[in-house]
């Protein structure tokens, strides 16, 4: 008998009474003014919020947010200020030292400031290794809470995906909050109008 069979035999021998799957009996948090809440919660988790007006160029906004940046890595066609296309590198280690990574977010979550990133780049290292991360997000793609987030019909369509809420942080030394533990030291979420 293999270990799986042994474990399953023990589980079945000790079987506990059947309990039905619970139904949702409450109405989860919603936010009447999505953009106001998103700005507030992003600030709370340490991220910058930029709302682009119609016709404003995303490259200008990136440059304005990180004027000192020398290397900007992105595979997004509209990011013309990119200095590197990370998908063309042979090894993700080459991304070490990147100043800014620019990626697309699928949707944002108003209750906690998370943005869902579905890996559409060759290397996921880009999301974590860049000193600063810029996330481009459609301003209409905001959900209230995690129930709505996971209920999106296309949610399960990923190989690797990550909810990111602000910059990397730690409080492991005396509970003192320090930004920039291993991942990005800064995160800017740029909200755009949907493409026409």
């Amino acid at each position: 008998m293999g270990s799986k069979e042994e474990i399953f035999a023990r589980i079945k021998a000790h079987g506990v009474d059947q309990v039905e799957r619970p139904e949702m009996t409450f109405t989860p948090l919603t936010f009447p003014e999505p953009l106001v809440q998103f700005e507030k919660i992003l600030k709370a988790v340490g991220a910058n919020y930029v709302l682009l007006e119609k016709g404003q160029d995303v490259n200008e906004a990136i440059r304005k947010a990180y004027p000192e940046a020398k290397t900007i890595a992105s595979n997004l066609p509209e990011v013309t200020c990119a200095t590197v296309n990370p998908d063309k590198l042979d090894d993700p280690r080459e991304l070490n030292g990147t100043d800014v990574g620019v990626i697309r977010g699928e949707f944002g979550v108003l209750e906690n400031g998370m943005v869902w990133i579905n890996q559409h780049t060759r290397y996921k290292a880009l999301f974590f290794i860049a000193e600063a991360l810029v996330v481009l997000l459609d301003r209409n793609e905001l959900v209230n809470n995690m129930h709505e987030a996971y209920a999106r019909p296309d949610f399960d369509d990923y190989g690797y995906g990550c909810f990111i809420a602000g910059p990397s942080k730690t409080a492991d030394i005396e509970q003192a909050l320090v930004i920039g533990a291993h991942g990005a030291r800064g995160v800017t979420v740029i909200l755009q109008h949907p493409p026409l």
Partner: protein
């Protein structure tokens, strides 16, 4: 005196540190309270999360099988380990197959439970902890003292000293930002040169065959971004039915653990990327036997947020090393007893029965109630302290005989007039660190009889 009380003596000898430790944890507890109050449906959320776990536990084999089937279809290799030894062997065999030497890992209490790091070290594999708190403890050569905040008991000056020796930081500099960024630079090299990545698992989603890892630092994701092999290890109670269930736990976990609306990174691993191998090791190691303990089966609901530890007045004032089991606080007292009452019964006295742990637990585990039950069962297990048994017998006799009870209360008042050395001596463990209360002039019973009470 219990093993906990003995070990705690050392910790509380430094009063200033005890007070600081207490406050640092209460600060986390208060942040948790604020988060809970900001979510109006918090109590209903806890209730549903608790029932969802109960549902999962009652269908454990069904969901584990579903997870394995879907994960395998996604290209993940799934392994089963009945105990710690088998877990370590499976992990080592995968590493060996790839000729791995340098493993970088994110936090996993399961690897502590299995003693994985020393096992690998003995076989020439260097396993580097990448969570800052875990790394501090690894460099200090000590185990974590908390499951979420591994170095909560360490002062910044102590971190500074260790980093000065190990990472060559500036002598005397103990600024947390400076030290954190020094660790960032040093660990960046480890990430880039590791050949095996290891993570724990917070949740395994059966319906999708994906697993979720939550960190604030991004160390799990950084770790898995370069090596060709990713090994994820999980206790079998980590499986949950689907994304509907996941939404409950993601909402509760970080709010309960550290008082944040979410962790910074909530990573979903479903398929290995091109050229990478992904393994999941599902470990039993005594978990399936918990199903047979009707009174304690709720322990399988635990999502390891640590909120019961942060709120525990005994933990806050005695520190993680006072407990003989590797997980401290209310959760550890109970898990230790399920592991081995003979080895870990010395922790059950580390509870004032304030029930705060049961009230903050995001999945509503009856932690304090269970500790109380363990205490009641110490005598049948022949683990009760003889002095306590003797006292209980005497108390029972007096309580059951009113003719003795009232004279005994009167006699008790004589204690107030006794010299200190009689009351507070080494034979009386209760008198150590405690003062007797002042007795009222008259008993309630006497006042009632005189018609003073209505």
């Amino acid at each position: 005196m219990s093993s906990h009380a003995k070990a705690a003596k050392k910790f509380i000898a430094d009063r200033e540190r005890t007070a600081w430790h207490d406050q640092a944890l209460y600060f986390v507890r208060e942040k948790r309270d604020k988060m809970a109050h900001d979510v109006s449906e918090w109590e209903e959320l806890r209730e549903m999360a608790s029932r969802m776990k109960r549902h999962t536990i009652s269908n454990l084999a069904y969901y584990l099988d579903m997870f394995e089937r879907n994960a395998t279809a996604n290209g993940i290799h799934v392994h089963w380990a009945k105990d710690a030894e088998e877990h370590n062997r499976i992990v080592y065999e995968i590493i060996q197959k790839h000729g791995g030497k340098n493993l970088v890992k994110s936090k996993s209490m399961l690897s502590e439970e299995c003693g994985l790091t020393p096992y690998l070290k003995a076989r020439g594999v260097d396993a580097v902890e990448s969570d800052l708190g875990e790394r501090i403890m690894q460099l200090m050569g000590m185990p974590p003292s908390h499951i979420v905040l591994p170095a909560i008991h360490v002062r910044r000056e102590e971190v500074g000293k260790v980093f000065e020796k190990e990472l060559h930081t500036e002598p005397g500099n103990s600024d947390p930002t400076y030290l954190t960024h020094a660790a960032r630079a040093a660990l960046r090299e480890k990430f880039l040169h590791a050949d095996i990545a290891m993570t724990g698992v917070n949740f395994a989603v059966a319906s999708s065959g994906a697993f979720v890892v939550c960190t604030n630092e991004g160390n799990a994701d950084m770790g898995t971004s370069f090596p060709k092999v990713h090994i994820a290890i999980m206790g079998l109670e980590k499986v949950i039915p689907d994304y509907g269930a996941l939404s409950l736990y993601i909402r509760l976990l970080a709010r309960s653990a550290t008082g944040q609306p979410s962790t910074t990174y909530t990573s979903h691993y479903k398929k290995p990327v091109e050229g990478q191998e992904m393994h999941v090791v599902i470990v039993d190691n005594g978990r399936s036997d918990i199903l047979a303990c009707t009174e304690h089966v709720n322990m399988l609901k635990c999502i390891r947020c640590g909120s019961c530890i942060n709120t525990c007045p005994v933990y806050r004032r005695t520190g993680g090393y006072s407990y003989s089991y590797f997980i401290p606080g209310p959760v550890g007292i109970n898990l230790g007893m399920l592991k081995s009452p003979e080895k870990y019964s010395g922790n059950v006295s580390a509870c004032s029965l304030c029930y705060s742990c049961s009230n903050v637990c995001p999945v509503k585990i009856d932690l304090a109630e269970q500790i109380y039950k363990w205490r009641q069962n110490l005598a049948p297990l022949h683990l009760a302290a003889p002095s306590k048994k003797f006292m209980e017998k005497g108390m029972k006799f007096v309580m059951e005989h009113p003719g003795l009870f009232y004279p005994a209360i009167k006699a008790g008042r004589i204690a107030e007039k006794m010299p200190r050395f009689v009351l507070y001596n080494s034979l009386d463990a209760w008198g150590i660190g405690r003062e007797l209360p002042q007795f009222a002039e008259e008993t309630f019973n006497a006042m009632w009889k005189k018609g003073k009470m209505k």
